[in-house]
């Protein structure tokens, strides 16, 4: 018995062969579709863009731009920067510094004409707020504010801390500001002489 002789003249080798053409084409088509989907939905790796927003531009277009919420936030910001130091962020005022705004008849009056004159021109001398007499001075803190900022802050104080009075618009402020002849601190009599 003899074993069949295996030829050792050449070792078997793996032959290289081309992948079928249809696989290549399919891969390319899938890659292309993937790229199209990525382009439409990914926001290009922007860390702020999440589905369902497809791009930074789309996200931008959905930012709430105006409305009561924005005005209230603007009013709050200005109030805390300019008015809150003396009148308090809670609107309760500070003894010896500034009278309260929360529940003040001057703030929640039906009209806003007298109220708007106080920050625009300043006020001096005795005044009754919240059942107490105050004899202080306030500079024209609102004279340097823009119409929109002052309107927002007046709207804010008229609608915060339980106050429920109407809105003040930038146009209102514009009219009142234009009507001020000599912006000097007002006295109580001067304020009472003008329409509410």
């Amino acid at each position: 018995m003899s074993d069949p002789v295996i030829s050792t003249s050449s070792e078997p080798t793996a032959a290289r062969s081309l992948a079928p053409m249809w696989i290549l084409v399919l891969t390319l088509i899938l890659l292309f579709l993937g790229a199209v989907y990525f382009d439409r939905h990914s926001g290009w790796f922007d860390q702020q863009v999440y589905s369902p927003y497809a791009s930074a531009a789309m996200l931008d277009s959905y930012q709430p731009k105006s409305g009561a919420a924005a005005a209230a936030a603007q009013g709050k910001r200005v109030y805390e920067q300019v008015c809150g130091l003396c009148h308090g962020v809670d609107g309760l005022g500070k003894p010896g510094q500034a009278p309260p705004l929360a529940g003040s008849d001057w703030v929640i009056a039906k009209g806003h004409n007298r109220l708007a004159h106080i920050p625009l021109a300043g006020i001096n001398g005795p005044i009754t707020v919240g059942g107490k007499n105050w004899n202080l001075g306030m500079a024209a803190m609102g004279a340097a504010l823009s119409d929109a900022d002052l309107a927002a802050v007046l709207t804010y104080i008229r609608s915060s801390w339980g106050n429920q009075a109407g809105e003040v618009t930038a146009d209102d402020i514009k009219t009142i500001r234009a009507g001020l002849v000599r912006p000097q601190p007002m006295s109580l009599d001067q304020l009472m002489a003008m329409p509410e």
Partner: protein, 266 residues
């Protein structure tokens, strides 16, 4: 090993690709995340947690809460709502007009068209942005979860299975600490059909001393301890509740916009 170098290169390319996609990419994209301003507000978000709530995150983790609860709100889309802010001089005409119009679930173009119609009638309107989706409809949040929500979470407890409800905004939804404690001690005492197991070992049932403890749970009929005993939360229970109440992932942000409803503070 005739092709050793080629095999090495191929293996290296594979590992490098997955490392780039799963480690480097996210790090470049979100690694520098920091506090962001809240839309239309002077606040920043998120606030870091105080100590007890931070401990509570570890209690949450140790008890495997994330096995049944997620902390991620999904959002399918975004829609506009037209809200009347002032009826103007002719309220009757405006209300007739409103009855004929669809004011909710609009696209931006449709919302603009509706606003124009109402403005032509003399009314004043605001366009509100609202998030839309099943999670939002269930009341689990007002917007989708974003990376900032998890800025101070270590370890992040995203969760993937919703046997219980999502907890991303539970601090806003159920802000009562007492309710949370009752719910942990005996879920069925406050939610009749609750599937949640009671976490009694976070509480101590002990004999009432000279006077009942101020912390003792006020349990309803059928869940009360034996006479002369009271149930008080252990520190872990209080920490867990502090953590739950610190979950407020529902403020409007640039990357998750919606129109907040302003409620004037009393």
């Amino acid at each position: 090993m005739k092709n050793g170098f080629v095999i090495f290169l191929a293996a290296f390319a594979m590992i490098f690709t997955s490392w780039s996609a799963f480690v480097l990419g996210p790090q470049l994209q979100l690694g520098r995340e920091k506090q962001v301003p809240v839309l239309n507000s002077t606040e920043v978000y998120p606030r870091s947690r105080h100590g007890e709530a931070n401990q509570g995150l570890q209690v949450y983790r140790a008890n495997g809460c994330a096995a049944c609860h997620t902390e991620q709100v999904q959002q399918d889309g975004v829609a506009c709502e037209v809200v009347l802010s002032s009826a103007g001089k002719n309220p009757a005409a405006i209300s007739n007009l409103l009855a004929t119009l669809n004011l909710r679930g609009l696209s931006q173009a449709d919302a603009q068209a509706v606003s124009d119609k109402i403005a032509a009638g003399g009314g004043k309107v605001e366009t509100h942005i609202v998030a839309v989706g099943p999670d939002i409809a269930r009341g689990w949040g007002l917007r989708h979860s974003v990376a900032e929500d998890f800025l101070y979470d270590n370890v992040v407890q995203l969760g993937s299975l919703r046997i219980g409800p999502d907890l991303a905004g539970v601090g806003t939804r159920l802000p009562d600490a007492n309710w949370q404690l009752l719910h942990l001690y005996a879920p069925k005492s406050v939610v009749k059909d609750s599937l949640m197991p009671p976490f009694r070992y976070l509480f101590e049932t002990r004999k009432i001393g000279d006077a009942p403890s101020a912390d003792a749970l006020n349990l309803p009929q059928g869940f009360t301890p034996p006479a002369g005993y009271e149930v008080v939360p252990k520190p872990e229970a209080k920490e867990l509740v502090a953590y739950l109440l610190s979950l407020h992932a529902d403020v409007p942000l640039y990357d998750a916009p919606f129109t907040p409803v302003v409620v004037a503070k009393p």
